[in-house]
Amino acid sequence: MSVIQRHNINIVGNGSKTMVLAHGFGCDQIMWRFLTPEFEKDYRIVLFDYVGAGKSDLSAYNREKYATLHGYADDVLEIIDQTCDSPVIFVGHSVSSMIGVLAAIRKPGAFENLILVGPSPCYINDGDYIGGFNRADIDGLLQTLADNHLGWSKAMAPIIMKNEDRPELTAELAESFCRTDPEIAKQFARVTFLSDNRADLATLTVPSLILQCSQDSIAPDEVGDYVHHHVAQSTFVKMKAVGHCPHLSAPAETVQSIKRYLSAL
């Protein structure tokens, strides 16, 4: 199984520079669908699914490898190595922003910039540090995942939404959209929300842009500030966009923020 198949890699657009778009917990590469049209004229865009998400190869899932975010960072480096000849612009949403940070610490030469959308190095409150959550909250998330995985057998993809009024999405697409194997989802949730990568931030040398949303209940303002203050060469942009997914709720503002940052370099 090649890396391309393992991660369902899709490459679109033209440009001398490559932009790698990394989805977060709960979805797959489809979450970038409002962003890609805005960048594909100027960039070569690499889209992929993490193992366990979307149309990735579920058989490549390995509980030991993916017990920490480093397993995912290894995959990112492998994807870049297989698809790109020059340093990339890595756009990571949510947990992927930290995966990108870990990958860029490991191999700075592979990255030109990191765009961190709603990053959090640690979701759990710890002393003076405000992550926004405690352990019981994460147990609540796992229960909610379980409640919504009802009837999902191990192999069947959940078909959460019907597709009646979106004829442009093929049935095949709908079937795989944001599908995650329940067991994998559970472990990814734990790894995402219980990891603590605060100590890694200081060792990042690749310049980065932090996009902080308004009223983000997953990555609150304090967390964005924390990242900005602990990462050298970081640019902080507070967006008007509300929630945790500005690339979906406010694609225009998100595109504009990224373009402004990239053109100022």
Binding site: L142, L150, Q215, I218, G243, H244
Partner: protein, 509 residues
């Protein structure tokens, strides 16, 4: 309705209105901006949650009403799906009421777009699902328990739908068949579990297919082999039954099977060992028969030349009888030796004639009668030696009558023969030893030294050399007879005080 005319019905005012339906619908309605701020909420939901409209319409976001775990799920799953699909159905989320109570709900959502296709509004329909959600958790718990149970049991279990397509395989079934449940699910069971006859490897119908066809339990199929996905073959015992729903409709089938390869191998070796043992018994019997026959023929054929030797020796003796003393002595020795040889041949013949196969007589034999017969035969030596023979009241036994008499005769005969200084006193006793009778023959004779107590049961072993008459075959014959009838014979003896011979026989039932 009784008596109401259509006209009267039409005049009743219609109580339903869109506004009233919205406010008091049997479900909660809530609308938010794309950012998630609540902009409209119905009475039903407010009542459920204990809020007033003004509490929620001042900028509260829908996610703020959710539990923290639900909020993460909403932001990482629900919202994304809604933005991309404009439509999300049946998501289970918990809403926190104003007083802190938790309202378990099921939520549907639609995204409203304007003329340019831009999303402008999210609409949520919220169903109170406290009971339903509880059932669901109970169901999941029950399913998990079932799963755990099925994966823990040692038998392979495969379930199919009514078409015979696999819906479930437990861990043991995966192990035995080499298939993974994920790969097997949805495939016809006939395609996954290849069953063949053990003898000619012909494919046989899967018991599940059979059970579905006849609607009945299909019992153990004997001599079935299962060809695994990787070609590995095992012998299986299996049974299948149709699964029925509460209406009795067949909704699927279930196959239970286990690996009996090991058991079958053991059975096979056992059968082989039995056959081998049987064969050896046959050979042994044949060789015994040959031996008996040989002994009989040999001793018979030896008798006539021997008889010639004796006759010619006697002739010599008569012819030269009045000759030199030395010649007379030589012919005497010759005749005595030849006669001794004749006796030995007779004894050998008697021993060989104990050919009984040990088959138990159909009717019990009265030991008293056989003892009496033995005493009768020994009458003259009893009288000569002034022997006194006493006995207990003897039981009936399962041993051939003639042979039993032969044993008594040999034992009593020996007791007289090897008597001590006093007149022989011989007692035949009997004791109960469970399945067996224990007979004893006690005497006051010369006794037997410990080192000879085993030897005396071997043919031609004599303790007293040739100084007393006797062939040395009597006890060997007794031993042969007793053992053929599943008994044992032995002696307990003290030199100078006497001997007691014991033997056991099967009791008559």
């Amino acid at each position: 309705m009784t008596g109401d005319s259509p006209r009267e019905q039409a005049e009743l005012p219609l109580e339903e209105s869109a506004e009233d339906l919205y406010e008091n619908a049997p479900c909660g309605y809530l609308s938010t901006t794309i950012d998630g701020r609540i902009v409209k909420v119905n009475r039903t939901l407010l009542d459920w949650l204990g809020y007033e409209a003004k509490d929620l319409l001042g900028g509260t976001r829908f996610v703020d009403l959710l539990t923290v775990g639900g909020r993460i799920y909403f932001e990482t799953h629900f919202n994304l799906l809604l933005r991309i699909e404009q439509s999300v159905d049946e998501i289970a989320l918990d809403i926190i009421c104003k007083d802190g109570r938790i309202l378990p709900t099921l939520i549907n959502a639609r995204q409203k777009r304007d003329a340019t296709g831009e999303p402008v509004l999210n609409r949520f329909t919220i169903f109170n699902a406290s009971e339903r959600r509880k059932y669901e958790r109970d169901l999941v718990a029950a399913r998990d328990l079932l799963q755990t149970t099925l994966s823990s049991i040692g038998d392979g279990v495969v379930a199919t739908d009514s078409e015979g397509r696999i819906t479930f395989m437990n861990a043991e079934a995966e192990r035995l068949s080499g298939w993974q449940e994920n790969d097997a699910r949805g495939r016809p069971i006939e395609e996954v579990l290849i069953l063949q006859r053990e003898d000619n490897h012909e494919k046989i119908e899967n018991p599940v297919t059979h059970a579905l066809r006849v609607g009945k339990v299909v019992g153990l199929a004997n001599h079935t082999r299962l060809v695994g996905k990787d070609g590995r073959v095992i012998i299986v015992d299996d049974s299948a039954s149709p699964m029925r729903d509460s209406n009795g409709e067949v909704i699927g089938g279930v196959l239970v099977f286990r690996d009996v390869t090991e058991r079958r191998n053991i059975q096979r070796s056992l059968a082989e060992a039995q056959a081998r043992a049987q064969q050896m018994i046959e050979e042994l019997r044949r060789s015994n028969d040959d031996l008996s026959q040989f002994a009989a023929v040999a001793s018979h054929d030896l008798r006539s030349p021997l008889s010639n030797i004796i006759q010619f020796a006697q002739l010599l003796d008569r012819r030269y009888g009045d000759g030199a003393a030395e010649e007379k002595q030589l012919t005497g020795v010759l005749i005595a030796s030849a006669r001794r040889m004749g006796e030995l041949i007779e004894a050998l013949l008697r021993y060989a004639r104990v050919t009984s196969d040990g088959s138990i007589p159909s009717a019990p034999v009265d030991a008293n009668a056989q003892l009496a017969s033995a005493i009768q035969n020994l009458q003259s030596s009893i009288e000569k030696s002034h022997a006194v023979v006493t006995h207990d009241l003897l039981p009936s036994v399962l041993i051939d009558a003639t042979h039993l008499s032969q044993i008594f005769q040999n034992l009593i005969g020996n007791a007289i023969h090897y008597r001590g200084l006093e007149a022989p006193r011989i007692h035949i006793g009997v004791a109960d030893r469970g399945e067996m009778w224990l007979f004893s023959c006690a005497d006051n004779g010369s006794g037997i030294a410990p080192e000879y107590q085993l030897q005396i049961f071997e043919p031609f072993k004599r303790l007293h050399g040739t100084d007393r008459p006797g062939s040395g075959i009597g006890l060997a014959i007794c031993k042969k007879i007793v053992e053929r009838f599943r008994g044992r014979i032995w002696v307990e003896s003290e030199e100078g005080k006497g001997s007691t011979f014991f033997f056991t026989t099967l009791k008559a039932r």
